[in-house]
C-alpha cells in the first residue's frame, strides 16, 4: 500500500510537525531575514534536527543512517515546508547526501555519509550556470593535469553554496554544452583555493550563492562517480531532489491553503464571513482538489524511490510531482494573497512568504515547462 503511511511514518510526521511548529516557525525565517543572518539558517535548530536523526533518515545503518527511506524523509520535509523552515536538510541531505549515496565509492560513503548524518558536513550541488534549469548545459571545464583536475567556470543559484563545507561541482571533462556525456562530478572544499562564493539574496530569503571557480585543483579521489559519466549520478540525484522539493512544497501549499480557509471563515465583510461567498467557495473547493492530487503524486514518487522502481519510472514520478505540486503551490499561494486582501499584501503578515517561496521553488531544478516537457518525452510523446 504505497499510498498511505505506516505507523512509524505517521509518528515521524507528527513529531516533525511538533518540532517545526515549536522550534522553527515562520517567525524564525523572518528573524533570519530581518537580522540579515550570515548563515541564512539557525545552527541550533539544525543541531536539534540532527539529534532527531533527520540528517540520516535515508542512509543505511552502515553509513550512520536510520535506513528509514525517502518516504520517512519526505514526511519530515513536508512539515518543514509548512513552516518554511530554512535548514541544510534540503541541500545537504536530499541533494548532496543523495549524490554521495548514489555515486560515491564505499570509501566515500563511509567517510562522508556519517558526517552528513551527524550534521557536521554541509553540502551543496553546484550545477546551474544560467537563469533556467539546464542540467547538461554545462560549460564549466575540468581538465586533467597529472593525477589532478583543474576546474574553471561559474555556477549560479547554488543552494546553500554560502554555507556548505563541500561543493559537488558538475563540470565538463569532455563533449560540449548540451551533451549528456562528458560530465563529471567533483567534491570541492568551499574554502579551496580559487573558489569564490557570493551569496545571492533571493525573494524567499533562503540561501543561494553564485560560485566562481578559477583554477581550482582537485585530486582524482575527489571525483564522485565515473569520469565523463557524471550524468548518471546527476540524473538520479536530481530526481530525488525534485521529489524532495515536491514533498516540501506540498507542505507549504497545504499550509498556505489551510491558513486561507481559516481566514475565509474569520474575516467578516458585508456582515458575513467572506467564506460564505460562492465565488470564493468554488475557487477554494477547486484548490482543495488540486491539493489532494498533490498529496497523491508526492506519495507515489516517494514510494517509487523506496520501492526501487526503474530509473525511468522514478523520473516520470519526479517530473509529475514537481510539475503538479509546483503549479498548485503557485496557484494556492497567489490565491492566498488575493483572498487575504490587503492584509495579505503586508510584510507583517506571514502569507506573503509562501508566495515568494513558490516563485523561487518553481525555478529550482526545473519549472513547470521543463517538467511538463520531460514527462511527455519520458512517456514517449
Amino acid at each position: 500500500m504505497p499510498m498511505i503511511l505506516n505507523d512509524e511514518q505517521n509518528m515521524l510526521k507528527d513529531s516533525a510537525k511538533d518540532f517545526c511548529t515549536n522550534n522553527a516557525p515562520i517567525a524564525q525565517l523572518r528573524k533570519l531575514r530581518d537580522e540579515d543572518n550570515a548563515d541564512g539558517f539557525d545552527r541550533d535548530t539544525w543541531k536539534q534536527m540532527v539529534e532527531l536523526g533527520w540528517a540520516g533518515i535515508p542512509w543505511k545503518e552502515d553509513f550512520g543512517g536510520l535506513d528509514f527511506g525517502y518516504k520517512g524523509l519526505g514526511v519530515v520535509t513536508e512539515e518543514t515546508g509548512r513552516t518554511l523552515t530554512a535548514s541544510p536538510l534540503y541541500a545537504t541531505v536530499w541533494v548532496g547526501g543523495t549524490a554521495i549515496n548514489v555515486g560515491g565509492t564505499d570509501e566515500q560513503k563511509s567517510s562522508l555519509l556519517p558526517e552528513v548524518a551527524g550534521g557536521s558536513l554541509l553540502l551543496a550541488l553546484a550545477l546551474e550556470e544560467g537563469p533556467r534549469h539546464n542540467p547538461y548545459g554545462i560549460e564549466t571545464k575540468a581538465e586533467a593535469k597529472g593525477g589532478d583536475f583543474v576546474i574553471n567556470g561559474k555556477k549560479t543559484f547554488v543552494l546553500d553554496g554560502n554555507v556548505a563545507d563541500k561543493l559537488i561541482v558538475v563540470a565538463r571533462t569532455s563533449g560540449k554544452p548540451g551533451d549528456r556525456n562528458g560530465l563529471t562530478l567533483f567534491l570541492v572544499d568551499r574554502t579551496a583555493k580559487g573558489v569564490e562564493v557570493t551569496r545571492t539574496k533571493m525573494a524567499d530569503s533562503r540561501n543561494a550563492a553564485n560560485i566562481s571557480l578559477s583554477g581550482v585543483t582537485v585530486s582524482k579521489d575527489d571525483v564522485l562517480g565515473d569520469v565523463d559519466k557524471g550524468a548518471d549520478v546527476l540524473d538520479a540525484t536530481l530526481d530525488v531532489a525534485r521529489i524532495g522539493l515536491a514533498a516540501e512544497l506540498l507542505g507549504s501549499a497545504q499550509e498556505a491553503y489551510e491558513r486561507t480557509i481559516e481566514y475565509l471563515k474569520e474575516r467578516v465583510q458585508f456582515g458575513v464571513p467572506i467564506g460564505s461567498f460562492q465565488g470564493l467557495k468554488h475557487r477554494a473547493a477547486d484548490m482543495f482538489c488540486e491539493v489532494e492530487l498533490c498529496k497523491s503524486v508526492v506519495l507515489d514518487a516517494l514510494s517509487a524511490l523506496d520501492e526501487g522502481r526503474s530509473a525511468e519510472d522514478i523520473a516520470k514520478a519526479a517530473s509529475l510531482a514537481k510539475a503538479k505540486v509546483g503549479e498548485t503551490f503557485t496557484l494556492v499561494s497567489r490565491e492566498a494573497v488575493q483572498m487575504h486582501g490587503g492584509i495579505g499584501m503586508t510584510d507583517e503578515f506571514d502569507i506573503g512568504f509562501f508566495m515568494k517561496r513558490a516563485a523561487v521553488a518553481e525555478q529550482t531544478f526545473g519549472d513547470l515547462i521543463f517538467h511538463r516537457n520531460r514527462y511527455g518525452e519520458l512517456e514517449g510523446y
Binding site: M1, M3, H282, A284, E292, S296, L320, G376, Y381
Partner: protein, 394 residues
C-alpha cells in the same frame, strides 16, 4: 492476505478459467447490462455462470442472490475479474443504486420481493428524482402522492429519467406533505413503470441520442407496502442513494478507462504527426496533451490512494467528494482537446467522409457535456466540498 482469502482467490481463479468465454475477454457485455436475456450466447453463458455463484451482486446476502463476500474477498474478486478482462455480468440502477439502498433502508418484505429480481437481472430499474423545476435543487420537487388509505395517488412529472423507456420499475421521490420545509415532506416510493397512468417520452439530446426520458404520472396508484423508509422521511433515503450514484458515476476504483487514456495519445500522433524525436508535432497541442495526461495520472493516483485508505481504515475518505467533480471536468476537457486535435475531421456529423471513430467522437464530445451537469452539477459538487469538507459557512 489470510489463508482463507488466498484459498478464495485460488478457487475463483479456477472457476473463471472455466466460466469466462474467451470471446468476452476484454469486452463489455452485449446490451449494456440491463435485462435478463443477452442477445449473444457468450454473454448469456457468462451471466448464468456468475449468477450461479452469486457474483452478479457479490457482496449481497445469499438469500437475495448474492455471494455474501466480505470486503477482502470482494476486492479479490474484482482483481481476478480485472486480470482476466472479465466484463461485469450485470449493471444498471438495480445493482448500483436501489439494491444497496433497499439493503440499508428496505423492510424484509421489500428486500425479499425486489432484491432477487435485481440479482437475476429480471427487473430493470430507473430513477425518478429530477423534475423540470427541481434540478440541482432536487428537494424542491413537486410530484405529489396523496394518501388514499391503502395506496398513494401519484401525479406529476419527472425528467432526465435515464433508461425509463426500458425500465420495469422506478424508485421515485414524491411529495407527501407540501406544508412543511421542503426536505421534510418527501417520501421514497417504488412502483411499476407498467402501471396505468405512467407514460414515457424520450428526450433527444444535442448529440442525437435519447438516453433520458420525461416520465408523466397521472393518477398512478402505488400500494403502501412499496413506501421505503417512513413517510416524509424519504430525503434521508434519497441522499444515501445519491452517494451510491456518485461513487458509481465517478468510476470509483476503476480510474479513467484504459481505452480512453491510451487513445488520446494515439489520436494526437495520428492527426498531428510526430517530429524527429517522436514528440507530437504541434507544440501547443502537445503541451495540452501532456497537461491532460498529468492531470489524469494525478487523479488516478488519488483514486488509488483513496482506495488504499479505504482498505486500511474504513474511515470515510476525504477524497471521494472530489471524484465526481474532477472526473467529469477532466473527461469534458479530454474531449475538447481531442476535438481540437482532429480539426475538421472532429466535427463531422454523419456520412462517409468521416470514419466511424470520428463520428463517434463528435457525439461523445457533446455527450461529455452532461457529465458536469447530471448527477449533481459541478457547481453543486463544489458547494458540497466547500460546505462538508472545508466547513465554509452558508
Amino acid at each position: 492476505m489470510s489463508d482463507a482469502v488466498a484459498d478464495f482467490r485460488a478457487d475463483v481463479e479456477d472457476w473463471i478459467s472455466e466460466a469466462l468465454p474467451s470471446a468476452l475477454q476484454g469486452r463489455e457485455m452485449g446490451p449494456a447490462g440491463n435485462g435478463p436475456k443477452r442477445t449473444d450466447s457468450d454473454s448469456q453463458k457468462w451471466f448464468d455462470a456468475c449468477y450461479e455463484r452469486g457474483f452478479t451482486v457479490p457482496n449481497w446476502p445469499r438469500a437475495y442472490g448474492g455471494a455474501e463476500l466480505d470486503k477482502a474477498r470482494h476486492q479479490v474478486l474484482r482483481e481476478v475479474f480485472r486480470a482476466h478482462g472479465a466484463p461485469q455480468p450485470l449493471g444498471g440502477m438495480g445493482v448500483t443504486m436501489i439494491g444497496p439502498t433497499l439493503l440499508e433502508h428496505g423492510n424484509d418484505e421489500q428486500k425479499e420481493r425486489h432484491l432477487p429480481k435485481i440479482a437475476n437481472g429480471e427487473i430493470r430499474w430507473c430513477q425518478g428524482y429530477s423534475e423540470p423545476s427541481a434540478g440541482s435543487d432536487l428537494a424542491s420537487l413537486r410530484t405529489k402522492a396523496e394518501d388514499k388509505g391503502d395506496f398513494y395517488l401519484v401525479n406529476g412529472q419527472k425528467i432526465w429519467t435515464s433508461g425509463a423507456q426500458y425500465a420495469d420499475w422506478i424508485f421515485c421521490l414524491v411529495r407527501t406533505n407540501p406544508d412543511v420545509p421542503k426536505h421534510d415532506g418527501i417520501s421514497f416510493l417504488l412502483f411499476s413503470m407498467h402501471d396505468p397512468g405512467v407514460s414515457v417520452k424520450p428526450i433527444v439530446l444535442i448529440n442525437g441520442t435519447s438516453p433520458f426520458c420525461e416520465v408523466f404520472f397521472t393518477d398512478v396508484k402505488v400500494p403502501k407496502r412499496d413506501l421505503v423508509g417512513q413517510e416524509n422521511k424519504g430525503w434521508t433515503v434519497a441522499k444515501r442513494l445519491l452517494q451510491h450514484e456518485r461513487s458509481s458515476l465517478s468510476g470509483l476504483g476503476g480510474g479513467p478507462r484504459a481505452d480512453e487514456q491510451g487513445s488520446l495519445v494515439d489520436v494526437a500522433r495520428q492527426y498531428l504527426g510526430v517530429d524527429e524525436q517522436g514528440r507530437v508535432a504541434d507544440p501547443s497541442l502537445r503541451r495540452e496533451l501532456i497537461d491532460h495526461q498529468i492531470r489524469s495520472r494525478a487523479f488516478a493516483l488519488t483514486q488509488r490512494r483513496s482506495h488504499e485508505e479505504n482498505q486500511a481504515g474504513d474511515v470515510p475518505t476525504f477524497a471521494t467528494s472530489i471524484f465526481k467533480y474532477y472526473s467529469s471536468e477532466t473527461r469534458k476537457r479530454r474531449y475538447e482537446l481531442q476535438l481540437r486535435m482532429m480539426g475538421t475531421q472532429g466535427v463531422g456529423w454523419e456520412g462517409d467522409s468521416f470514419s466511424d471513430d470520428e463520428l463517434a467522437l463528435t457525439r461523445t464530445w457533446l455527450r461529455s457535456k452532461s457529465g458536469t451537469i447530471a448527477g449533481g452539477s459541478t457547481e453543486v459538487q463544489l458547494n458540497i466540498i466547500a460546505k462538508r469538507v472545508l466547513g465554509l459557512p452558508d
